[in-house]
Amino acid sequence: MSTETALKFTNVNAGYGDTQILNTLSFSVAKGERLAVIGRNGAGKTTLLNTIMGLTDMHAGSIELNAEAIETLPAHQRSARGLGLVPQTRDIFASLTVEENLLAGSKGRADISEAFALFPRLKERRNNKGAQLSGGEQQMLSVVRTLMGKPDFVMLDEPFEGLAPVICDQLMAVFKELADGKNTIILVEQHTEMALAFSDRLLILDNGEIAFHGATGEVRDNSEILDRYIGLGVA
């Protein structure tokens, strides 16, 4: 992890329409950092990722990506600057085949064989429609579709939700590979243990505010923090 800042939030208020969900958030993420975001349901985790991506309404504050202000940029321009979001809802295009899903995300430029190298299972399914895929396969597709845009800052919104442990392990292996390749990663995760195992820094959200932001090690050694904000400790 370098000391250079990849993302900087300064006093950000954001939400949907007039409804404000994130309250005066300020934090920064270093290049190459693995940041896990945890919090109770409704804490604002998904809204945080959507705000970084430009899919919410900003009410105040500023967001910088690699020292460039991006808060006024539309989502597609943020994507062009290296941001990639794997949404919680996966949003697979149900009527398109696996291959077409990837091509739609690549604008016809990227090499889909790279995607198949990450998840060979998808190669077997390349002519199956999105609607015919299992939950695990859809998540794999959602991940590689985002990676087709060659992001260097990847946001993962509860990627393990509802998946069998073996699929979670496959996905985790790919995420670690991404992180080792110097990508900056924000992982939003309900499975606290997975979040702690993956991350080197942790951000706990509570009611749209930062309850804790620091090294993951601090929390591993002090489960009282998790008890207070998430309602469970780590065994």
């Binding site: 991506m53 430009g54 899919l55 539309p74 989502a75 597609h76 321009q77 994507s79 062009a80 990639g84 979001l85 949404p87 949003d91 295009f93 149900a94 009527s95 398109l96 085949t97 077409e100 899903n101 091509l103 739609a104 995300g105 690549s106 604008k107 016809g108 299972r121 399914r125 390349r126 002519n127 199956n128 015919q132 895929l133 299992s134 939950g135 695990g136 396969e137 579709r145 985002t146 087709m148 845009g149 998946l163 069998a164 073996v166 699929i167």
Partner: protein, 331 residues
Amino acid sequence: MEADIIRHKPAKRLGGIFSRRILLDICLISAAIAFFFIFPNNLGFMTRVLVMIIMVLSLDLVLGYAGVATLGHAALFGSGAYAAGIFAVYISANPLLGLVVGALAGAIIAFFSGLILMRATGLTLLMLSIAVAQVLFELVNSERDLTGGSDGLLGIDMDPVLGLYAFDFYGKTGYWYALAVLVVVFILLRVFVASPFGLVARGIHASPERMRAIGTPVYWRLITIYTLAGGIAGIGGAVSAQVTELVSLESLGFNLSAEAMIMLILGGIGRLYGAIFGTVIFMTVHHFAASVDPFNWLFVIGILVLLVVYVVPEGVLGLPEKLRKHLGMAK
């Protein structure tokens, strides 16, 4: 792994799909050629069907592929028709040049109206699209000196196609000309929808927000698609003006937009072939039902649309699949 990954049947081979499509294409073109000889007294009607197919194909691109519901497609068709008609009367009666002018007119109107329309969605979009067509309707109606107003644009006398085939009273040349233009348009659309850009259109239809997040400038892509559709509808309008040598205000009317949408829903949206089957069914029923009962023929169309919407929402193109599933369950 077994718990999460479903075992699938092997995916259909793409080669099989293509060969089936080519077979269907050959059947359709053969039918169009055969109809010329079987129904020599209905060439005018059949030419109108071919022209409408071009317009409905254009609507399919916008509605079926990109998911943009508009009720003002006649604005693009009528622009092409008037532009090609005026061009033929005042500048050149060359049919192919007229097609280019019609395409440009449709595309230009689509581009500029699209700058506003593509920012809207749902009911707002529907209303705005109707408004654009109505504004053009009134504009054309008020410019009587140029457009003929409610009397229609008269005085079109087309040159022979390629300098060889004159438009005749029986509509023989008109039929072959419209068929040739339709085939070219269909091939172009087929290439487009299979291209990465076509996939982007379908992606936008499925989830505009997701497409934005993976780097697609959705608004400009929609304008591009709408402009292309405008060009195609404009070509349809130009062919209509050239083969009938008349442009009437109805070519910009709300009825035309609404009928085009019904034809597409009847046939099945987002599949190109739906535009062909839907238009043929709608216009044939219209043709015969209206000759039996000129006042209540819409009743038959109404029943047809109800049946399709309730029984096969995918349109008549969804019928074979529906039947196959039904028979499979009966076994």
